[in-house]
């Protein structure tokens, strides 16, 4: 053992304060959801948005989309929290692809149905500015909670971790928003809801190494 390494060990041992252990990734995902879901509901309520329950229950495809979006949020959140724990299987990062595929397939089927039902009009995309403010507000707390919780872990694969976090936030906010946009055609859901989720995940992944990096003590005590 070299003298420098020996000194470093002595210093790290001397500085070692008790630490609060990270909970199981499943529990952490549940905590994140428990924080985020009431907030999403509150913001929606403040914006005067009311759930159309009869329409919601009478449309099985819409229910599949809604559940798939929520499942994507849960799976992506769980996978993100797994990736910050050293020694856990990295393959868990692929887990959200299953509900994500179901969500995308359901929207795709909706696009075909709209095209058959309405013709070219069913595939028209227009800008809906009204949904952008609630979408931004809905995302703030889940995003802040996710960043704080992820940064307590180890940045082993920051691109993947933060992209999964972004996917979880995007899927959760869109699951909330979708409840209040029952009249939207599937192409609108595909472009604005699914598209914004994918964009958020990609952007988060790109910013990952800046948001999430190793926070180490200086190498020497006089640094």
């Amino acid at each position: 053992m070299t003298v420098e390494t020996d000194h470093l060990i002595e210093r790290l041992a001397d500085e070692a304060a008790p630490v609060r252990r990270l909970r199981h990734p499943g529990k952490r995902a549940a905590i994140w959801l428990a924080l985020s879901l009431p907030y999403v509901a509150l913001v929606a309520y403040v914006h005067g948005l009311v759930v159309d329950v009869p329409s919601f229950l009478s449309d099985p495809r819409f229910m599949i989309e809604e559940i798939a979006a929520l499942a994507t949020a849960i799976a992506a959140g769980y996978a993100a929290f797994c990736t910050v724990v050293p020694g856990r299987n990295r393959a868990v990062a692929w887990l959200p692809l299953i509900p994500l595929a179901v969500w995308l397939a359901s929207i795709g089927k909706g696009c075909i149905d709209d095209w058959i039902r309405l013709g070219a009009e069913g595939l028209e995309v227009h800008v809906d500015w009204m949904c952008i403010p609630p979408l931004a507000w809905i995302g703030i707390l889940p995003a802040a909670a996710m960043v704080v919780m992820l940064r307590r872990g180890a940045p082993l694969m920051p691109w993947v971790t933060v992209a999964l976090g972004g996917l979880a936030i995007g899927a959760l906010t869109n699951a909330g928003l979708q409840l209040f946009h029952l009249g939207d055609t599937s192409i609108m859901v595909l472009v604005w809801h699914f598209g914004s989720t994918a964009l958020l995940a990609a952007l988060a992944g790109w910013l990952g190494p800046w948001i999430f990096r190793w926070k180490m003590v200086p190498r020497s005590s006089d640094a």
Binding site: M1, T2, E4, T5, L8, I9, E10, L12, A13, D14, A16, A17, P18, V19, R20, R21, L22, H24, V84, V85, P86, G87, R88, R152, G153, A154, L156, W214, K215, M216, V217, R219
Partner: protein
């Protein structure tokens, strides 16, 4: 408090105790894992010089320290440790590649300018004795101004109060003194 013993270490127990703030357990754990980390670094980076290998070992120890809260005592310790070590070794490889991509190998570093005047090894007077003698030869007012403003680093206001000279007179005196010193020292070179 966990005391040092010669028995084989149970790394899971040591880490659990370290997370609870047991410094002796943590010290023993770090000593036990350092050879493992060093072996892993040598296995993946056998071409590195010894000092770089040791730097990387220290990097892994610092990383372990930074994320020690992520260890779950219900799970085995070794995969946790090696995941951190592999990650830091891979990061060092990426850092090396990034820096190598921005470096150009040259056999000889060029001088910034070829002229003799820009290639002095050091600046300054070089000979403090000569400088001291040159200052002593200055007229009284100039010598006083240099001593107060340059050697004792008083402000103009403080020097004016101490010497009874005006600020303007001090400025002129120090300017003339520096000019005279430059001439004297240049003539001696």
């Amino acid at each position: 408090m966990t005391e040092h013993s010669d028995e084989p270490a149970d790394l899971e127990s040591l880490m659990r105790a370290a997370q609870d703030g047991d410094k002796a357990a943590y010290r023993r754990l770090l000593r036990e894992v350092t050879p493992m980390i060093r072996a892993a670094v040598r296995r993946h980076r056998h071409f590195l010089p010894l000092q770089d290998i040791e730097d990387l070992v220290q990097d892994v120890l610092l990383s372990l320290h930074a994320v020690r809260a992520t260890y779950d005592p219900a799970r085995p310790f070794h995969p946790w440790l090696m995941a951190i070590a592999r990650n830091r070794i891979a990061d060092s490889g990426r850092r090396h590649l990034r820096s190598a991509a921005h470096e150009v190998a040259v056999e000889e570093y060029p001088e910034t300018f070829a002229y003799d005047a820009t290639n002095h090894v050091g600046e300054g007077y070089g000979d403090p004795q000569a400088l001291r003698q040159a200052i002593e030869k200055l007229p009284h007012g100039q010598r006083q101004a240099v001593e107060m403003l340059k050697l004792r680093e008083l402000s103009l206001k403080e020097a004016a109060a101490a010497s009874g000279m005006s600020v303007g007179a001090l400025k002129v005196a120090v300017h003339r003194a520096i000019k005279a010193l430059r001439v004297t020292l240049h003539a001696e070179r």
